[in-house]
């Protein structure tokens, strides 16, 4: 063998066994500590200051909360809307998941595209779009329906559709909850060992019987998880009730809390008490889920790559497909068309002026001609830059922290950070908004109305999603790949830079897009923290909605939706391309 003759240990023969200060460790633990502080400090500081340091006693705050006008009605409204929409969304989401995973009505792209709906057309755009479609006087769908009715000699002046009522609100809520339910159920069906169903079929059970007694019980935890996700999301939802609830005076908890925070002086004590009520509901839900999961055995996940038998729907195949397609029509295509139409009109009226279609609104917004246009342009630019910076920061920080927590699991800071990054998922965004106002807006930080407070709040509210996606990407890389790097003598910094990071890129690209869209499309936190001088998209859209300027609103919504789509699809394409190179 030729290597014999060479000086075999090529590198210095004395190992540096001594503990050098390790750069990565220092960087990662600093970042972990900073993020933990950023998440915990505002919540903790606000809570302590409201309940213990201010003049008001806890009793005073509780009394004020109970005496809050119509508070009982607000709670009742919240319960009805959330309860109703979660139930409806769970039923629709489970049906769509079963159809696309287990029946021959499945269309490949449906599976891939359905969870993206809220990213392609954000709820606030959807809510506005549906209002433009169904408003009693000038709603486009109403115009069409009334037009058809007039051919039959029926003369109707308003309606028949109306978004400003219980049905309208619950309908739009449900539309945006469906993907949250769909995702875990579809994943569970995909991972479910097909031999369970095959055993049932070969025992002579009909497909219906198999579904009822084998499939459904096996995916129960996924249905529960989906419903819980939907519940948490619905509780924090602000844009839909803010757009639709004002006219019929159907007020929900989030709207009341935001209103309490925007009056002067801000009723922070009452707002925080109501916010904690939401936290209690969420934590009860999480606790129940844990209990149910730990009590029963759901170990039914088999190996992947097994193709399950598909149920032939026969003559129900096409109707099922139409139902699936109409979900896209209702959530994305129709509202988006409505918005685009309005963006090319000078104003919204009960007659569509086909002759006056033009792009004036776009030149106004993109060129910043009028005051309205300038505001809209500023909002777009602010949102896009905040989301680009925020998403990049969030993903890079998460990647470093995830690599750190995975290797130093025994380190208490690692555990605390891990728990903290999950916390904003259990705390409503409204509460995080309150906490940021309470702790960072005033002295000593005085961040009120700055883009910095928005950026920090965006980082916190998207931290659970960012760390979840990055964590998944990290575990897909495989532990042995980084271990092989360590036993090759590479430091943690080198291992992260040369092995973990490059291999995580496809997952990180998807994570970046998710965080970008969440930050750019945020409404709840933005409404509480943005200011007229520093507008962002979510804030500006609500502002235009409240104070008039619908064509400008439609323009900014169109531009924003197109940009979101481009970012999401671009990141998906990039991540798929990168993943293919690796094979």
């Amino acid at each position: 063998m030729t290597i014999r003759g060479e000086k075999w240990p090529l590198t210095a023969s004395r190992a540096s066994v001594s503990r050098r200060p390790r750069g990565f460790m220092i960087l990662a633990s600093t970042l972990a500590a900073l993020i933990t502080v950023l998440i915990l400090y505002p919540l903790g500081a606000t809570w302590v200051s409201v309940f213990f340091l201010r003049g008001d006693s806890v009793t005073t705050i509780l009394t004020a909360t109970i005496r809050e006008p119509d508070i009982g009605k607000v709670l009742w409204n919240t319960a009805v809307i959330i309860g109703g929409s979660v139930l409806i969304a769970t039923a629709i989401g489970a049906t769509l998941a079963w159809l696309s995973e287990r029946s021959d009505a499945s269309m490949g792209w449906v599976t891939r595209a359905l969870p993206l709906v809220p990213f392609l057309v954000p709820p606030i755009v959807g809510a506005v779009g549906w209002t433009i479609l169904t408003a009693p006087k000038s709603g486009y769908l109403n115009l069409i329906v009334r037009g058809i009715a007039s051919w039959f000699g029926l003369d109707i002046s308003t309606g028949p559709l109306n978004p400003y009522n219980w049905v309208g609100i619950i309908f739009v809520y449900s539309l945006y909850l469906v993907p949250l339910v769909y995702l875990p159920i579809a994943a569970s069906l995909r991972n479910l060992d097909p031999s369970l169903e095959e055993a049932s079929t070969s025992s002579g059970a009909s497909p219906w019987w198999t579904l009822r007694y084998v499939t459904l019980p096996a995916i129960k935890p996924a249905i529960g998880a989906g419903a819980l996700l939907a519940l948490i999301y619905a509780l924090s939802q602000y844009s839909i009730p803010a757009i639709l609830g004002n006219v019929p005076r159907i007020e929900v908890l989030t709207v009341r809390i935001v209103r309490l925070m925007s009056v002067f002086p801000a009723q922070i004590g009452v707002a925080l008490t109501l916010g904690m009520l939401m936290i209690v509901v969420i934590i009860t839900g999480l606790w129940l889920q844990r209990r149910i999961l730990s009590r029963s055995r759901f170990a039914t996940i088999g190996g992947r790559g097994m193709r399950s038998t598909v149920v032939a729907l026969g003559r129900w195949k096409w109707p099922s497909r139409i139902v699936m397609l109409s979900y896209f029509l209702i959530t994305t295509i129709l509202p988006f068309i409505a918005i685009v139409l309005l963006s090319m009109q000078p104003f919204w009226s009960s007659v569509i002026h086909w002759t006056s279609f033009n792009l004036n609104n776009y030149t106004d917004v993109l060129g910043g001609l009028s005051a309205l246009g300038r505001g809209a342009r500023d909002a777009l630019l602010n949102s896009l830059s905040l989301a680009s910076i925020g998403a990049t920061g969030s993903i890079v920080i998460s990647a470093i922290i995830v690599a750190f927590t995975h290797r130093h699991w025994s380190n208490p800071l690692a555990r605390l950070t891990e728990a903290s990054t999950k916390l904003p998922g259990a705390v409503s965004h409204v509460v995080i908004g309150i906490a940021f106002i309470g702790a960072l807006a005033g002295p000593p930080f005085r961040l009120s109305g700055t883009l910095a407070i928005l950026l920090l709040a965006y980082l916190v509210v998207t931290m659970p999603q960012a760390s979840f996606i990055v964590s998944t990407a990290y575990s897909q890389v495989g532990k042995e790949l980084s271990e092989a790097s360590f036993t090759s003598g590479a430091s943690e910094t080198r291992t992260f830079a040369k092995i973990s990071l490059p291999l995580m890129i496809p997952g990180l690209a998807a994570g970046w897009a998710t965080v970008f869209v969440l930050m750019a499309g945020d409404v709840t936190v933005s409404v509480m923290l943005a200011s007229p001088g520093r507008p962002v998209v979510g804030y500006e859209i609500l502002d235009l909605w409240t104070f008039g300027g619908l064509p400008t609103l439609a323009t900014i919504a169109t531009v924003f939706t197109l940009l979101s789509c481009a970012v999401v699809l671009g990141a998906l394409a990039l991540s798929r391309k990168m993943a293919l190179v690796r094979r």
């Binding site: 030729t2 036993t487 590479a490």
Partner: protein, 392 residues
């Protein structure tokens, strides 16, 4: 067993002169590793193991899956933090629970070959193999020639610019091997490296690994559950059972003098019989079994009345068609047989007693054939009775 050996030696870190022949390459003392399961129960994956591995030894850790052998290996590499104990190499103390010392894997200078190869899919074969040198900041000029010569030695020189995903499983294993060897570490750990390649490549690579280890003189610690692999590679085998060293010794010693039924079964197929010692006949112990009296030549001091277990190897049984004057011979009927290529394997019945795993060469015999079977007294191992049998 391993304890007594290590006690005789001096502590590795107390010998600064380093000239002593008996300085072990790896010294493991009272190593314990506990895991806590999700449900709170504690698993003792490594339960007080002490082993010294001399320089240049090829030590194989043999045992069934879940016996703790891989955990022990990962503790040596530094990928797992032991609960307590001490690990030292020639380069110093790597882990010492008493002194709260735990050198990270990147500073231990121990090469490792992983079961899953763990090749980095985004780097070429060349870059994969060059990585340990670059990580240790070797002079740039030396890297190219070193990597090329290592790849050539392993016969994969022409693959240098391919990606791991583009080469076969056996070639991937060679790349992993090259990566572990390229930096010239004096210790290389192997975690079941051949379990994912097909049988033919496995035999080939086994011979190469062995040759390479003798040639380069590194100390190897190799984990496997495959007894043939263990015997083909090892200078010493440590049979691991439930986190402990059941027996350690040369392959020959472990095969012919297993210290327990478990070791006997781990190292090779067995045919076992329980019985009671009846007495001595010259230097043969006479044991009463279900087959009748069996004569065993043994150095074990058994006395009449002892319950014992007789362990034999299937290959030692003789199968004849005629009665010949042999000790330990019985008339038997073939109950079932299987043709296995290099041999036939039978279950035979001596009256009511069944004997499993009797190997024979030649034509396969039909069920019901009348034969004579025998076992030489020297081929029988006596093990004290015991809970071993109860376990069996």
């Amino acid at each position: 067993m391993a304890r007594t050996q290590s006690d005789l030696k001096r502590r590795p870190d107390s010998t600064e002169d380093g000239s002593s022949q008996i300085v072990p390459s790896i010294s493991i003392e009272n190593l314990v590793k506990h895991f806590r399961r999700e449900n709170g129960t504690e698993v003792r994956a490594v339960d007080d193991i002490s082993i010294d591995v001399p320089l240049g030894e090829f030590l194989v850790l043999l045992g069934p899956s879940g016996c703790g052998k891989t955990t022990l290996l990962r503790c040596i590499a530094g990928l797992e933090k032991p609960t307590s104990g001490r690990i030292a190499t020639q380069r110093g103390v790597m882990f010492d629970s008493g002194k709260r010392r735990n050198v990270p894997p990147e500073a231990r200078r121990i090469g490792m070959v992983f079961q899953s190869y763990a090749l980095w899919p985004h780097m070429t074969v060349f870059d994969n193999v060059a990585y340990p040198l670059r990580a240790r900041r070797a002079p740039k000029a030396g890297i190219h020639s070193r990597v090329t010569s290592t790849l050539d030695v392993l016969g994969i020189g022409e693959l240098a610019h391919q990606y791991p995903g583009q080469v076969s499983g056996g070639q991937q294993q060679r790349v992993a091997l090259a990566r572990a060897l390229v930096a010239g570490e004096d210790t290389v750990l192997f975690d079941e490296p051949l379990s994912n390649v097909d049988a033919q490549v496995r035999d080939e690579l086994r011979i190469e690994i062995r040759g390479m280890q003798r040639e380069l003189g590194f100390t190897a610690v190799y984990v496997t559950h495959d007894r043939e692999e263990a015997m083909g590679l090892a200078t010493r085998i440590a049979v691991i059972e439930r986190g402990r060293v059941a027996q350690i010794g040369t392959p020959k010693a472990i095969y012919s003098q297993p210290s327990s039924l478990h070791v006997a079964r781990t190292i090779g197929s067995t045919t076992e019989m329980g019985g009671t010692v009846k007495g001595w006949e010259g230097d043969h112990a006479v044991v009463n079994t279900k087959l009748g009296l069996i004569r065993v030549s043994t150095s074990e001091s058994v006395s009449p009345g002892d319950n014992v277990l007789l362990v034999t190897r299937p290959v030692d049984w003789q199968l004849d068609f005629n009665d010949s004057p042999l000790v330990n011979q019985w008339r038997a009927v073939i109950k079932a047989g299987a043709f296995l290529g290099t041999r036939n394997e039978y279950i035979v019945a001596v009256e009511d007693a069944l004997i499993h795993h009797v190997w024979h060469h030649g034509e396969i015999l039909p069920q019901g054939s009348q034969v004579w079977i025998s076992i030489p007294p020297a081929a029988i191992q006596i093990l004290g009775d015991s809970d071993e049998k109860a376990k069996a």
